[in-house]
């Protein structure tokens, strides 16, 4: 199949590199499984859904391990962030590609790249010191699902915007030129031609954004309130899986520690599930009626 030994060498090397990259997640999974095995062997799985509350610091018999509000909190906050960040990100990409003058586009892109590098602790600090008091004035306590969504949106926006931008840039130039030749406006070109053509890239961008939102820790700890309770409204505090790990790991021992690793495992399962769903959806779109 390959003409030269050099090509065979290249292919082999690349396969090796890819295999290592793929293997990392297996290692992580094995590590998390091993660390969470104590709680899996001593606490019935159903108790993670039916226990009265989340108080794992006591031993396996007395502790309470209800993860449901935490999982719901995680899903709500990250879904909210993606719902806001995806349109903002795609519109930003359209802005850069089709609307803004060259210089403005360049500066805006650079700004988004900067946004990508602001540490989550700085987002959290800003959220806690600036945003939370503002929201507390409208609806105490201020630390809430809403604040979390706002901060998370800002945090995942660069991922979504830059990847969307790359996906749109990837649409063959001929199509754009064709549109121009047909006399289509930039608006029509962007929304009716380019966005549908870049669909798979845009989906990737949204998924990576979602996954990033789910995995986010430090900022969420500071602005979400962290109470383990089913949120009744947008202004109720929520707890996420990652903040549970971050808040409790430093003093956790025995079953408690291991139940925190179980949180990590649940998180990985949630992520895997979402990716599977996204894949099914995009495949249906690919094969369905155009």
């Amino acid at each position: 199949m390959f003409r030269s030994t050099r090509d065979r060498f290249l292919s082999l090397t690349l396969h090796g590199l890819a295999a290592v990259s793929g293997l990392i997640v297996v290692l992580v999974l094995a590590f998390v499984l091993q660390e969470s095995s104590p709680v899996l062997s001593r606490v019935m799985l159903s108790r993670f859904l039916t226990d009265g509350s989340w108080h794992p610091a006591a031993d396996a018999a007395e502790g309470a391990f209800n993860l449901l509000p935490i999982v719901v909190g995680t899903l709500l906050s990250s879904a909210g962030a993606v719902v806001l960040a995806t349109p903002l990100g795609i519109l930003s990409a359209v802005f850069i590609q089709f609307y803004a003058p060259l210089h403005l586009a360049r500066w805006y892109r650079r700004m988004i790249e900067l946004l990508a590098g602001i540490p989550s602790v700085v987002f959290g600090l800003w959220g806690l010191v600036v945003l939370v008091p503002l929201i507390a004035r409208i609806h105490p306590p201020g630390q809430s699902l809403f604040t979390g969504i706002v901060i998370l949106t800002l945090m995942i926006l660069p991922t979504v915007a830059l990847l969307s931008n790359a996906a749109m840039a990837a649409v063959p130039r001929e199509i754009v030129s064709g549109c121009a030749a047909l006399g289509l406006s930039r608006r029509t070109t962007a929304f009716l031609i380019i966005i549908p053509a870049a669909k798979s890239g845009l989906t990737t961008a949204a998924i990576l954004g979602l996954v990033r939102a789910i995995g986010e820790t430090m900022a969420v700890v500071m602005v979400c309130g962290n109470v383990v309770r089913m949120p009744g409204s947008l202004f109720d505090p929520i707890r996420t899986l990652t903040s549970t790990i971050a808040l409790e790991m430093s003093y956790a021992r025995g079953v408690h520690r291991s139940s925190l690793f179980f949180c990590g495992l649940v998180l990985l399962l949630v992520v895997t599930g979402l990716i599977a769903v996204a894949e099914i959806v995009s495949r249906r779109q690919l094969h369905g009626p155009v």
């Binding site: 990259s21 700004m111 990508a116 991922t159 820790t217």
Partner: protein, 302 residues
Amino acid sequence: MARFKTRTDRVLDICVWTAPALVSGLFLWLVGDLAVRGCGAFWPGESEASGFFRLTEPLELVIKFLTGAPERAGRSGGIGPILVSTGLILMVCMSMAIPFGLGTALLLSEFVAPQNRFGRIVRRSLDVLAGVPSIVFGLFGNAVFSQFLGLRFSILSGGLTLACMVLPLLIRSTEEALNAVCPTQRHAATALGFSRWATVFQIILPQATPGVVVGLVLGIGRALAETAALIFTSGYVDRMPRSVFDSGRSLSIHIYDLSMNVAGGNQNAYASALVLITVLALINAATNWLATRFLQREAGNF
């Protein structure tokens, strides 16, 4: 044609202009807030100097802050050793992540068909990897690099952990960039009898460079911003590192510690955050400049 705007058109136009305005507004609010709070650290207090010396004083303070060692648990003094550690961590991280990221992305987009099972498994596992929370990465890195491989708390083990973390982002964006290269180019290369090696290195990679740079910038940003994964791997020691085998505190850990753990550390926390954003801006500018320069050189070759 622009004269016959429908209502939908107008709404779309407004959306396209509002979204960036909103994002820029929030960004400027955040950075402005940081700048106002952070600059206090560089503002001279009561001093006897007057006239010209008073003007140079902030500059001196900035230099002192950038080169000095932290004192009083970071509440005064500078961030010199922390900048060095951060740089070393970033170098280790990128020198691992770039070959693996580029290699995997090349394989996924150039060497296997989209339906290939191996490719699909790798791609899916990378997506899952992207969702692993940073604190789990930290504990994983501690178990694998620090304990199993015996690197203990070191810049090397921190950089390797970060490399695992940024890999999905790097690969996904590189892959997008590679897919963006027009397929006719590949066909042309094949028709001309180019080897795969030549196609990849002479046709595809040069064209994909801007996209690869986006991935790099995102990856560097992610690595610079990381806190939780580094506490357990590269550690907390704020001394000047002698080599990558020493433990070293990264800038984001320093910010976290000063703002959340040390009472009265706010001032220096904001100042450090300001430095971090400035460093990032410089890195971004440099990467973009290099990319455009190389692109022009490439264009000149044709």
